[in-house]
């Protein structure tokens, strides 16, 4: 009993890559609708940060000449967008590790599908989830006083930047996930580095108020670039404006950071997927 030629159409074409990617993405999107808690928990953290900083810490943060509490909230929201996009890494890291540990990755890898499609589909679904989160956060932002004060083109460019960055981060997360021994480890060690990265940045406080040794680090931190680029593109306050390279070229630099991440980690993740003894690592 062998497979009849008419039934299974195996061709190593780009068309199959797209088809398989969409099939896998649908699986993950279906999962978001089945377990809406996923979306809820992806939202709860940024929303708490918005409320905490807008109403609790915000008053104590020095924005220089840029003004009072209202200005801080406008300053904060693009920072929260940036932080959320960086955190996009978390859910895919855990998701990939779960699939590997449950043997689903093995099943995918033993099918005559395109290898890039498993990660391609997962990251695509993750992008979809992140776009949803950013939309809901934007609405939350409007409620606390955030406004887009730039042109439509700039604003759209801002959202495009966030989506690009989120997509790059999901590939980074996929790569990390493929190297984690278990979902438990992935849930903690997998993205512990995210916290220092987002706090040593201009997400919540202007860099000018930080100690001088930290300032250059924070200035070149990709998260700062992303947040500053968003503030520029959405026309939000930029306190203590400087003239350094990352400040002047925040928008192209943020795009560049995202594309470099993507160019490095997408091939690395696909390679790890093909060659690593995924799932064979478990007990």
């Amino acid at each position: 009993m062998s497979i009849s030629e008419t039934e299974v159409k195996f061709r190593p074409t780009f068309g199959w890559l797209i088809y398989d990617t969409i099939t896998v993405a649908k699986r993950h999107i279906l999962k978001i609708t089945r377990v809406p808690e996923t979306l809820f928990f992806a939202l709860i953290q940024p929303v708490i940060f918005v409320l905490l900083f807008a109403f609790v810490f915000g008053g104590a943060i020095n924005l220089g000449d840029s003004g009072g509490a209202g200005a801080y909230r406008e300053y904060l929201i693009p920072g929260i967008f940036a932080q959320t996009v960086i955190f996009a890494v978390a859910s895919i890291t855990v998701g990939i590790t779960e699939d590997a540990n449950r043997g689903i990755m093995d099943r995918f890898r033993s099918l005559p599908m395109r290898p890039g499609a498993v990660l391609g589909g997962h990251t695509l679904a993750s992008l979809f989830q992140n776009i949803l989160v950013i939309i809901i956060l934007s609405i939350t932002g409007l409620f606390v006083g955030w406004r887009i004060r730039s042109s439509v083109v700039d604003a759209l460019l801002g959202y495009l930047l966030l989506a690009t960055f989120a997509y790059a981060m999901t590939w980074f997360g996929a790569w990390i996930g493929l190297h984690m021994p278990s979902p438990e480890v992935a849930g903690t060690a997998g993205f512990a580095w995210v916290f220092p990265l987002t706090f040593a940045s201009n997400v919540f406080t202007p860099i000018a108020t930080m100690p001088t040794w930290l300032q250059p680090i924070a200035l070149w931190n990709p998260v700062s670039c992303l947040a500053l680029a968003c503030r520029k593109l959405f026309g939000n306050p930029i306190p203590f404006p400087g003239n350094s390279f990352p400040e002047r070229y925040a928008v192209p630099m943020a795009f560049a950071y995202a594309l470099i991440l993507l160019a490095i980690f997408a091939p690395l993740a696909v390679r790890a997927f093909k060659t690593r003894n995924i799932g064979g690592l478990k007990a």
Binding site: I3, E7, R34, P112
Partner: protein
């Protein structure tokens, strides 16, 4: 004779741990080969290499005459894999799972749906097909997992410990399904720690220990290595043990052993069940009362014991490589 699986000189190391040290075996088309051995003996590693999940360090492995490392894509169209875990998506229904894997096998949407229906019916899951996997029992999950591996009508099926963790009833159900697949011409490579399972399903077995093949053959061939059947008699009066031994010497095919504590006489025989009748008659004539009598056939466990000096169900003995293996958590 067509060979469905050919493995020769297969080697694989994980770091310093040599999981496979030169494995050779073949499987004829339409038969079941049991890969037998304790944890860490290399069973899963062999399956992972044959299923294109892992590259070997040396040697060749062919499925359906096609080399797994040079043409993995072609091999993938011929194989089905059921691992130790039910590799199905928790958040989807049974039907959605089968359709997903069908589509990834590049069946058309309509074909994938049709195939999902067929398989659900065949595995007694039609009623549960539209329920989420979360509510499935362990046995149902395994059946769905097996169904998923049959989506592409594989000619070669890899079953890695397909009944581990199942209750006896589900295990019997699994055995029936596997039997029916083989009856239809599927070649099956089955790994198991349950010697009884290999005995039941496999036409031939390969016994592994520490990454080497220590024996292979049919169940009967393996069993003949530890001698044939034995009649075991428990006598009512312990003082008659040696008398029984003397009486039975005439029909024994080898040396008779006596277990003093259990009042048991163990008589090797080649006479099968007729030997039991003979034993009863001889003991009755000698007026030796029998408390219990049984014809015992050697199990594969006996085989393993006689080949390695330890039981297959024991944890690997305290040699450094296996200790290291379990610490690393690698499932070799």
């Amino acid at each position: 004779m067509t060979l469905a699986i050919e493995v020769s000189g297969l080697e694989k190391s994980f770091g310093e741990v040599q999981a496979l040290r030169g494995i050779d075996f073949t499987v004829e088309q339409g038969t079941v080969l049991g890969l037998l051995g304790p944890n860490g003996s290399g069973k899963t590693t062999i399956v992972r290499i044959l299923a294109t999940l892992l590259k070997s360090d040396a040697g060749t492995a062919k499925v359906g005459g096609i080399d797994v490392s040079s043409s993995p894509d072609q091999v993938r169209t011929m194989i089905g894999l059921t691992g130790q875990y039910a590799a199905v998506d928790e958040y989807l229904t049974g039907r959605e799972n089968l359709q997903l894997f069908g589509q990834l096998f590049h069946l058309s949407k309509k074909q994938a749906a049709q195939r999902a229906d067929e398989l659900l019916a065949r595995f007694g899951l039609s009623d549960a097909g539209d329920r989420g996997i979360k509510g499935y029992s362990g046995g149902m999950r395994r059946r769905l997992d097996l169904a998923a591996s049959l989506i592409g009508r594989p000619s070669v099926l890899f079953l890695d410990e397909p009944t581990t963790g199942l209750d006896p009833r589900s295990r019997l159900g699994m055995w029936e399904v596997i039997d029916s697949l083989v009856a239809q011409g599927t070649t099956v490579l089955l790994t198991t720690q349950y010697l009884e399972e290999a005995d039941q399903l496999a036409s031939r077995s390969v016994v592994l220990d520490h990454g080497t093949v220590i024996a292979q053959g049919t169940s009967d061939e393996l069993k003949s290595q530890v001698g044939g059947d034995r009649v075991e008699v428990v006598v009512e009066t312990p003082s008659q043990l040696s008398q029984a031994k003397g009486v039975l010497a005439s029909i024994a095919s080898g040396e008779i052993n006596i277990n003093e504590t259990e009042h048991r006489v163990i008589v090797p025989t080649s006479g099968g069940s007729r030997a039991v009748v003979e034993v009863v008659r001889l003991l009755d004539d000698a007026q030796i009362a029998i408390a219990d009598i049984a014809l015992r056939r050697p199990t594969l466990d006996d085989v393993f014991l006689s080949l390695t000096g330890r039981s297959a169900e024991d944890e690997p003995s305290v040699t450094p490589p296996s200790k290291q293996r379990s610490r690393r958590g690698a499932r070799a």
